[in-house]
């Protein structure tokens, strides 16, 4: 699994992703925001951070980078694209995912562990999870409040494109377990074609016991499982 990790000015989770891809046996390569080509890779990952200082809107200016034309073309041809945190914001800003991420309803930066329920295990990003499995992962964001109109939210739910939801320890998506005010407690979604995922929590920061959780590993293992039959591992 050859993975292009795109570094923007202000990305700060790019090395975490690099290490994480290595951990599951993949081959990570960095791409710079000014690059025009992704090269011969199987997966593209947009890391967390504060690209361009979050100026204008989080993730907005990153979508104007030369590399994003290549990312859009890669996604358009069915290539798997994973956006985490700021990467999720950029995927929404670029139109590769529906909706937008607003300021947390608390107005505060939220840096904490959250619990997530896996909503759909048939996607290429979640197939190594069990349905309804409860995961622990960290979040670290000020703009993670997922917003879309009701029609879009209904569509996402109806098509099984809500992949993760914030829940309590019982696996209930109660308001008190929603760390940022996201509509319907949505933490991660899939595009219509099923090859682009964005999520606010950080699976790459939950991959070794010393980090307090290994619950994020299966996102990367799922991609491996998806690519293995295609001879790309």
């Amino acid at each position: 699994m050859r993975v292009a990790i795109v570094t923007f000015p202000g990305s700060n989770c790019d090395y975490d992703l690099y290490k994480c891809v290595q951990l599951v046996g993949g081959k990570p390569e960095f791409r710079w925001h000014r690059d025009a080509e992704l090269g011969d890779v199987d997966v593209v990952m947009l890391p967390g951070g504060f690209s361009y200082g979050d100026y204008l809107r989080a993730g907005a200016i990153a979508t104007m980078s030369p590399i994003m034309d290549a990312v859009k073309a890669f996604a358009g041809s069915g290539g798997p694209v994973l956006g985490i945190c700021n990467g999720f914001q950029s995927l929404c800003e670029s139109g590769l995912l529906p909706g937008a991420l607003l300021r947390n309803r608390s107005l505060l930066f939220a840096g904490q562990d959250v619990l997530l329920r896996v909503e759909n295990t048939s996607s290429i990003f979640t197939q190594e999870y069990e349905a309804g499995q409860i995961l622990r992962m960290p979040i670290a964001h000020a703009e993670g409040n997922y917003h879309a109109d009701d029609e879009t939210l209904d569509l996402l739910e109806g098509e099984g494109r809500v992949l993760f939801r914030y829940t309590d320890t019982e696996g209930e998506a109660v308001d008190s377990a929603n760390p940022n005010g996201s509509a319907r407690s949505i933490a991660g979604i899939l595009n219509e074609a099923g090859n682009v995922m964005g999520l606010m929590p950080h699976p790459e920061r939950a991959v070794e016991p010393i980090l307090g959780s290994v619950d994020g590993l299966s996102v990367f293992k799922s991609l491996l499982s998806h690519l293995a039959p295609l001879g790309a591992v």
Binding site: P98, L102, R105, L107, H147, G181
Partner: protein
Amino acid sequence: MSRFRLEIRVIPRPGLLDPEGKAIQSALGSLDYEQVHEVRVGKLLYLDVEAASAEEARDGADAMCRRLLANPVTEDFEIDVREAAEEAVSA
């Protein structure tokens, strides 16, 4: 070609949760300004541009808002166009 000063206001959609506006409303309430029913916080951008006409300047700004300056999912925008005064141009 003339110089124009564009004033662009980007405002969160009505009905959209605006936590910053809510916090400011609550702060105004604590100063006893209870007549304030709603506060919404947006962005104000000034752009100095060259264009053949005010219409061309406005059309350009409209495209900029749709492509970058405003998020069509969450924000509306308003554009005012003024011809820039000479001293403002040189300043």
